[in-house]
């Protein structure tokens, strides 16, 4: 796996609105977690140090603080930005995610063997595979693999 933060960047002027939007998303999510999610979904106790809320709240507050630092750094430092990432291929990504979700729903309804085979076929179709023989090959291989897993008892 390549870590994109380590990659070389093609540099161009940085729009100021980007750090603000980033802070709005990350900071907003942190505030939502601190003031809504944790109070409503986690029981409080008298002893803060031993409270189930302690680590989640501290974590969310840290994220908020770090997002603020990221905002200040983004606004003040003479940074440059990577070239806008290509949006080409994004429909394929969305199609792949949808195919996976539908496939998993079939796994839930019809079991791992049938659902898994359907999933692999849907994923193949989502990335543009249309050749019948290749689709047959993917389906047959998936079926054999899933039978092996089922047979092994694991």
């Amino acid at each position: 796996m390549t870590d994109p933060t380590d990659g070389d960047a093609v540099r161009r002027p940085r729009p100021l609105v980007r750090p603000l939007v980033e802070f709005a998303i990350v900071g907003g999510a942190s505030l939502f977690v601190i003031f809504y999610l944790i109070p409503n979904e986690t029981m409080a106790t008298a002893n803060w140090g031993l409270s189930p809320r302690m680590v989640p709240t501290v974590s969310a507050a840290l994220i908020l603080g770090l997002a603020a630092i990221n905002l200040v750094a983004g606004l003040l430092r003479p940074a440059t930005v990577a070239a806008a990432q290509s949006l080409h291929g994004l429909p394929t990504v969305v199609a792949l995610i949808l195919a996976s979700v539908v496939g998993v729903a079939v796994v839930d309804r019809a079991g791992l063997i049938v659902g898994g085979t359907v999933l692999s076929l849907l994923v193949s179709l989502s990335i543009g595979e249309r050749h019948p023989l290749r689709l047959l090959g993917v389906g047959a291989t998936s079926l054999a693999l899933l039978y092996l897993v089922d047979w092994s008892g694991l």
Binding site: P4, T5, S59, V101, I127, G128, T141
Partner: protein, 499 residues
């Protein structure tokens, strides 16, 4: 000496040798396939050993455990899909190496580092079990908290180009690790009334989703772009160099040695386990990188750093088990049941009551290391053929592996949906420069950190000054402060590159 020779004789009987070999084969399969976890395979394998002699039974189980650790690297390197959570860190450099056309070299280094780490840790087990176990006994909650704080400081070292974003990712991992039942009070936290979330977000789903499914989304995007532009569609470039040469060995060996030491440490300290050991080793070795090293972009050192540590954990985790009866990892805990099944109670008396069996197990472990090398070396050429498979076939098969892996962990689709959700989150994070590596460190270390911290608060009665009564903890805290200062010094922080 006579007992040792008799034990060696037991270990070299055909039944024991076949058991070890069978265990190695089964372990390799378990390791290669994502989701078939080592503890699950061990649990299934324990009843198989009912009819075996004690030494054959333990040798079989040791073979399963050792080979699953080594096999986990294969799918991590070739498909960016960790066969075991402990192999997740191997993806960071193994997969980029495969993408550069060095899959076989990466697989070889993973195998040799695994065998080396395993063998050295076994020798340490044989020679130093008793004194090292005494050290393990001194690791209480305060010491564990200090170790965890030390481990978490390495998030800063692995943050990539943007330190705040790297830290946000790490803390997000820590936060998501708190979902589920509270470890002290057992009250639900952010579970939305879903029973499936009581055990938290599944670790396998998180590692597979964040690494493998995310990578398949990125590959699908690249595939579509290439198809649009009419570029070549090969998943991996043709391998031109498959050999490991003397300069490679000389370069990688110190890293392997350091990683083995870290793995042994992680094995001796109960609770840390192979996943934390491998991540910690990767972080420390990346921090110790020399000019020219390319951690994160495909460096053989990165593969050696994680694999040697991962494989050193199991033999080392048997040190507290044999010496004081305290298992150092989940796998070691399952081995306890196997010992008891065959009438052996691990603990200080085991060397007096069953010396022949224990020495026989030692010899079997060394035999298992040799078999692991042989099986791995033969299988390596077969596994490397994956690089010839076109990407249009790899994507559906890896997504299927992801689903199988996440499904098998808990036998419900909940884990699969969690894997998909985290995969999408990982895709968005990668796209906007948030490190997935630091996220996983926070997520892996989080539960043990929280548990240790709260136990430490109880032990010290919320009095921080009582840390002074714990010299080991104090040592780790000082090391954490030093590491934090080193990692956060201005020259270590690159100017931010936004996307």
């Amino acid at each position: 000496m006579e007992t040792f020779l008799l034990a060696a004789q037991d270990a070299f009987t055909p039944a024991a040798l076949v058991s070890v070999f069978g265990g190695i084969l089964l372990g390799y399969i378990v390791g290669v396939l994502p989701g078939l976890s080592r503890p699950a395979a061990l649990s299934v394998a324990v009843p198989i050993t009912y009819s075996m002699s004690p030494i054959a039974a333990i040798a079989f189980l040791v073979g399963v455990t050792k080979a699953s650790a080594a096999g986990g690297a294969t799918s991590a390197i070739l498909l960016n899909t960790p066969g075991e959570p402990s192999s997740a860190a191997t993806c960071f450099d193994g997969y980029p190496l495969a993408r550069k056309g060095e899959a076989t070299r990466a697989l070889k280094v993973a195998l040799f580092a695994s065998v080396f780490g395993d063998m050295v840790a076994t020798l340490v087990l044989i020679g130093l079990a008793a004194p090292l176990a005494a050290f393990a006994l001194r690791m209480g909650p305060v010491e564990m908290t200090a170790v965890m704080i030390f481990a978490l400081t390495f998030i800063a070292a692995l943050s990539g180009a943007s330190l705040p974003r790297g830290l946000i990712s790490g803390v997000l991992g820590l936060f998501l690790a708190t979902v589920g039942l509270d470890p002290e009070s057992a009250t639900p936290r952010m579970t939305f009334g879903m029973v499936e979330l009581f055990d938290g977000i599944p670790l396998t789903a998180a590692t597979i989703g964040m690494l493998a499914f995310t990578e398949m989304l990125l590959q699908a995007q690249l595939f579509a772009e290439r198809r649009r532009s009419g570029a070549a569609q090969a998943a991996f470039p043709v391998e031109t160099d498959k050999a490991i040469r003397w300069p490679d060995i000389r370069r990688v060996f110190p890293t392997t040695l350091t990683a083995t030491g870290i793995g042994i440490g992680a094995g001796i300290i109960p609770g840390l386990g192979p996943t934390i050991g491998a991540f910690l080793s990767y972080a420390i070795n990346k921090r110790l990188a020399k000019p020219g090293d390319q951690y994160g972009k495909g460096d053989l050192k990165g593969v050696a750093a994680t694999e040697a540590a991962d494989n050193a954990v199991l033999p080392a985790s048997l040190i507290p088990l044999f010496a004081i009866g305290l298992p150092g990892s989940v796998s070691a805990a399952i081995l306890v049941s196997a010992f008891m099944l065959h009438g052996v109670q691990p603990g200080p008396l085991v060397f007096e009551q069953h010396p022949r069996l224990i020495y026989g197990i030692y010899v079997s472990m060394l035999i298992a290391s040799v078999f692991m090398l042989l099986v791995g070396r033969v299988g390596l050429n077969l596994f490397a053929q994956v690089t010839r498979v076109p990407i249009r076939l790899i994507i559906p098969m890896v997504v299927l592996f992801c689903v199988i892996g996440a499904y098998l962990e808990r036998d419900t689709v909940f884990g699969v949906f969690a894997m998909l959700g985290l995969g999408v989150l990982g895709y968005v994070m990668q796209r906007y420069g948030y490190s997935v590596v630091t996220f996983l460190i926070g997520f892996v270390v989080g539960p043990l950190f929280e548990l240790s911290l709260r136990q430490a608060l109880i032990v010290t009665n919320h009095d921080v000054s009582k840390v002074l009564d714990h010299p080991i903890a104090l040592g780790f805290l000082i090391a954490a402060v030093v590491a934090g200062v080193v990692f956060l010094r201005p020259s270590a922080i690159s100017p931010p590159i936004d996307d």
